[in-house]
Amino acid sequence: MDKEKDEKIKRYVTSSQIWKSIFRRKHDDTKRSRVLAVVGNFFLHLHPVSLSRHALALKYTWCMGGITFFLFLFLTVTGVYLMFYYHPSIGEAYWDIKDLHYSVPFGKILRNIHRWGGHLMVITVMVHMYRVFMTGSYKAPREFNWLIGVGLLVLTLLLSFTGYLLTWDQLGMWAITVGTNMAGATPLLGHEGPFGEQLGMTAHNDVRFALLGGSSVGANALLRAYVWHCIAIPLFVALLIGVHLWRVRKDGFSGSL
């Protein structure tokens, strides 16, 4: 009796105009439905409909590109959470982190997973590059996608690098100081680099100054790191990831034997 009623309600709901406007395919195990699941879904349509069996093997792909992409999404979500609790000013930034540790519910775990996730993404993106090299998956017709991948590798490092400063503690500030001091040694464009002095470069107009918004790591550097970390670089990364995955799909999953 009840079962019959359930069936009736189910049929009524799934045949309603609202349901049909949202879910366009039947969820049964026919080949047609499975193909439509990929083609007709925004989130899945970056996949090809089918792929060769060996491209699925973990010992072939190590799943490193997929993990890197997932970590990017994971870090975006946890990063947005963190932004609710953070002010990018030198008077407040450090104490906001302390608040995360001691007064925000689950704040400490939130910060921990964001940091470990960020480090993990740097690792997985490098291992992904090594895998793509070792399987020769950059060879024609995939040359340009390798270029985009190198761009994503550099952006991943920069994402992590700009995030380092945001805690405004000794560890972050001095890591950024050491890192950006190298920029001061850029040939021609840095005041400590070859020919920099001859071209009129000083600590107040060279490429390091442009990165920091000042001649030392201070309030402007913190704001710049914040904007690069939370908005500018993620935008570039999102764009490049889109092109990267689209090209993978167009060129076929690696392993054209």
Partner: protein, 296 residues
């Protein structure tokens, strides 16, 4: 021994340990797969039946299922990691107190380690640029059509060995050295040694031309040093070229002159690092070429 455990869990250092282990684990996997494939190929069982690109499976559910599982495992792993271990947070930033040693983020420590052997404009700017440009150039200078889409060593000996050397040794090992073997004053400490903030090591370094009895800051010293650097690249390019030409090499013909010069320049720039390290560590050599504007 207490020091190694102390360093291991200092700051983000557990991450670098994970990095080193992961990279070499996957390198072993790659080489094992490559050797297996090469053996199959020798026996004429190549490409394997199921890998001939005809055996297709549907993305839904076979790939999507795997992706979701991996996503769940990564999330669970990160949650456990985040519960067990706290992200580092030191004292409030103070520009007046310089920590000793002050280290860059771990993935740049290879470059910081290079500062021992090269001036900042090479270690911090030129080499990173060459690495990025060199990586981007790979698909255009590696014209070997073989080995596309499967692990192999036999068909790509040069490519695989050069890249693996650059990545596994020059990049990863230098990072590990920078993290675990460099202590206060950027001096070398073995993991069982305590870091001594007052330690000073007196080092007398010599420039290359001083070995020849020429003052490296003089004009003739500068010219000699410059000639050595130029000769290094020139001979590095000409000698293999002549040998390959004499053997009527097919590869050389396919490469063409521009590609050959690019490959050669990038290769010898990379090899320049271990050469300079060797000269510095064994002969205490500081600069090969000294000019009023820059030193190499």
């Amino acid at each position: 021994m207490s020091n190694i455990i102390h360093i291991l869990f200092l700051k983000d250092n557990e991450v670098i340990a994970l990095f080193g282990i992961a990279v070499f684990f996957f390198a072993v996997v790659a080489f094992r797969e490559a050797i297996k494939n090469d053996r199959l190929q020798k026996q004429g069982k190549w490409p394997p039946e199921e890998q001939s690109g005809k055996d297709k499976v549907l993305t839904w559910p076979f790939l999507v299922r795997k992706e979701f599982l991996v996503a769940i495992f990564v999330t669970a792993g990160l949650l456990v990691w985040g519960v067990l271990r706290n992200a580092p947070l030191e004292e409030f930033a103070d520009p007046n107190i310089t920590p000793n040693p002050s280290k860059a983020p771990w993935y740049f420590l290879g470059l910081q380690e290079m500062l021992v052997y090269f001036d900042p404009w090479i270690a911090g700017v030129l080499f990173p640029l060459l690495i990025i440009v060199g990586l981007m150039a790979i698909p255009y200078i590696d014209i070997n059509p073989k080995g596309s889409g499967y692990y192999t060593i036999r068909e790509r000996k040069f490519a695989v060995s050069v890249f693996s050397f650059g990545f596994l040794f020059l990049w990863v090992i230098l990072i590990v050295v920078g993290v675990f073997f460099r202590g206060t004053g950027w001096l070398w400490y073995w993991p069982w040694q305590e870091w001594d903030p007052h330690a000073i090591v007196a080092e007398t370094n010599y420039d290359f031309t001083q070995f020849l009895g020429i003052d490296s800051r003089s004009v003739s010293g500068s010219i000699t040093g410059g000639s050595v650097v130029t000769l290094y690249y020139l001979l590095g390019m000409v000698i293999p070229y002549v040998i390959m030409k004499a053997r009527n090499s097919n590869n050389l013909q396919k490469l063409g002159l521009i590609r050959y010069i690019t490959v050669s320049f990038l290769f010898w720039s990379m090899i320049g690092l271990p050469i300079k390290m060797f000269l510095r560590l064994i002969f205490q050599m500081k600069y090969i070429w000294v000019t009023p504007w820059f030193n190499i």
